[in-house]
Amino acid sequence: MAEVQSTEHRTQNTDKSQAEKRKPEATRDAYGKTLLELGKKRPDVVVLDADLSGSTKTIKFAKEFPERFFNMGIAEQDMIGTAAGLALAGKVPFASTFAVFETGRAWDQIRLTVCYSNTNVKLVATHSGITVGEDGASHQALEDIALMRTLPNMTVIVPADAAETESVINTIVDQKGPVYVRLGRAKVPYVMPDDYKFTPGKAFVFHIGKDVNIVAAGITVDMAREAAGILSKEGIDAGVINMSTIKPLDEETLLSAAKSSGFIVTAEEHSVIGGLGGAVCEFLAENYPVPVKRIGVQDSFGCSGRPAELLKLHGITAENIVETIKKALKK
């Protein structure tokens, strides 16, 4: 199993919480476990998958609650419509498949029967971004945040680690309306503090910096923290914000960060068009224009390779965050 961060990266962090000592875990694994626990507590939770339950980890729920699990076959459009129908009958459906197929193949279905109809459907997609790895571009969703963010009524969440994923799933089960949760295939380190609890629309601030603030989500949160550690040794005060809810954006936190540093860097495992970087720029351009650098996939498709190699190729690394910031601050 691919790991995004090597252990030598991890040791550069000085203050280690309990969470950080835990072994890296994929957010999809956390999803599978949390869903199983939810199933025990909540008889109204139903789960749908499109022939990928072993990969999305919904299989855990499927085995325990076969009567509440619906494998829809390789039919994502029908899966979304059926999920909407189940929601309209009072259930809380979680519909899962790979992010490419969930958001791309069934976008019009999500638009009409989930968002326009405002049904209580939880879309939890795995295998987002380039860390899908070897399967290559056809399977690497780099546009899903953009596709989901543009839909009215939709909430878009990108958890940073397994613990945050668990907290997110346990929270959105009680949040009425459409939610998109973006999960990954690869193992990722624990980054959030032990006592952290996810609140929709609320960013988590590790630190607000005076020279720059790095706004990250998902696997880039850990990279941002590492980058901030490196920069601090060079006398640059870099803040780190985990913007796990990309819609609605935590504008208050973003505004205070922009006011503090006058320079923002976004980092995401997604196209720089329409995702976290896009959302941050839209808000800042209208409310508090400051220079922004967007780190992410620069308007291209991915390719096959190991996750760590792909991240390096696309500059989604702590090193590139450091370089980008130093270069911008020199000007």
Binding site: V46, E67, R68, F70, M72, G73, A75, Q77, D78, M79, I80, G81, T82, A83, A84, G85, L86, A87, L88, A89, G90, K91, P93, D108, Q109, R111, L112, T113, Y116, S117, N118, T119
Partner: protein, 280 residues
């Protein structure tokens, strides 16, 4: 609480009279709006009237009543038909039908569940209603709720791949609390369905997908009632009624005219049409 269980219409002549009234109101709405879908609203009118007024349990004063039967107009462009029926059933005041397609009216060009309680799900993008109907039926079954789900599709609409995904789902999960209908009027926008993209043999296709299929004359009220009754008794598989219909049914100069798919009647046409419907 006026649950429409006791008030159901079983008399064929009475249902025919309701269908006439619904046709007139459809044409009234379309004429007032100056745009909208005439042909497909008229072709499905008899089946929809029979479903709503002879079969369905519902309560316009409590549209979310759990015991209600569900209706999904998958061919959402026939919205005037749904609105005329819902106004007749008492979901909203009759005068609302003067506002079809007008700014800030609840009567959107295509059905919107946000604007009208009692519309189960928004439709308009074809091919999606059957999946939602399946989901509702599965949800009802999980709760041991005896309510049934109805879903009307167009014959052109079933060219959508998602319909066949949903067809598989309904058979796979043995969804027998669902009755689907294909309004088989043999026309779509660009011409006859068989010329644009043939769907025949449509009866055999659904059968091959594991459905109980009933082909009927979709304007013969007695046949419609018989088919709906038969559907209720089918266990272990979903039922679909292939309603063979005439697009624009009830108005001679709209019947079988492909161009009246998406054109509203002029005032003059409306006056003539109403006379025909009353005499027919």
């Amino acid at each position: 609480m006026t649950v429409m269980t006791k008030g159901k219409i079983t008399d064929v002549q009475e249902l025919k009279n309701v269908a006439k009234k619904i046709r007139v109101n459809i044409l009234h709405m379309l004429t007032q709006a100056g745009s909208g879908h005439t042909g497909g609203s008229l072709s499905a009118a008899d089946v929809a009237v029979a479903i709503y007024f002879s079969k369905m349990n519902f309560n316009p004063d409590n549209p979310k009543w759990e015991g209600r039967d569900r209706f999904i107009l998958s061919k959402g462009h026939a919205a005037p038909l749904l609105y005329a029926i819902m106004a007749e059933a008492g979901y909203f005041p009759m005068e609302t039908i003067n506002n079809l397609r007008k700014i800030e009216s609840p009567l959107q060009g295509h059905p919107c569940c946000k604007h009208i309680p009692g519309i189960e799900v928004s439709t308009g993008s074809l091919g999606q209603g059957l999946s939602v109907a399946n989901g509702m039926a599965l949800g009802l079954r999980l709760d041991n709720n005896p309510a049934r789900v109805y879903c009307i599709m167009g014959d052109g609409e079933i060219q959508e791949g998602q319909i066949w995904e949903a067809a598989m789902t309904a058979a796979h999960y043995k969804i027998d609390n669902l009755c689907a209908v294909v309004d088989n009027n043999e026309l779509q926008i660009d011409g006859p369905v068989e010329e644009v993209m043939g769907i025949q043999p449509v009866h055999d296709k659904w059968e091959a997908f594991g459905w109980h299929v009933i082909s009927i004359d979709g304007h013969d009220m007695e046949e419609i009632l018989r088919a709906l009754g038969e559907a209720e008794g089918v266990k272990g598989k979903p039922t679909i009624i292939i309603a063979n219909t005439t697009k624009g049914k009830g108005v001679s100069f709209f019947e079988d005219k492909v161009e009246y798919h998406g054109i509203a009647p002029s005032q003059e046409e409306f006056d003539k049409a109403v006379k025909e419907i009353h005499n027919g």
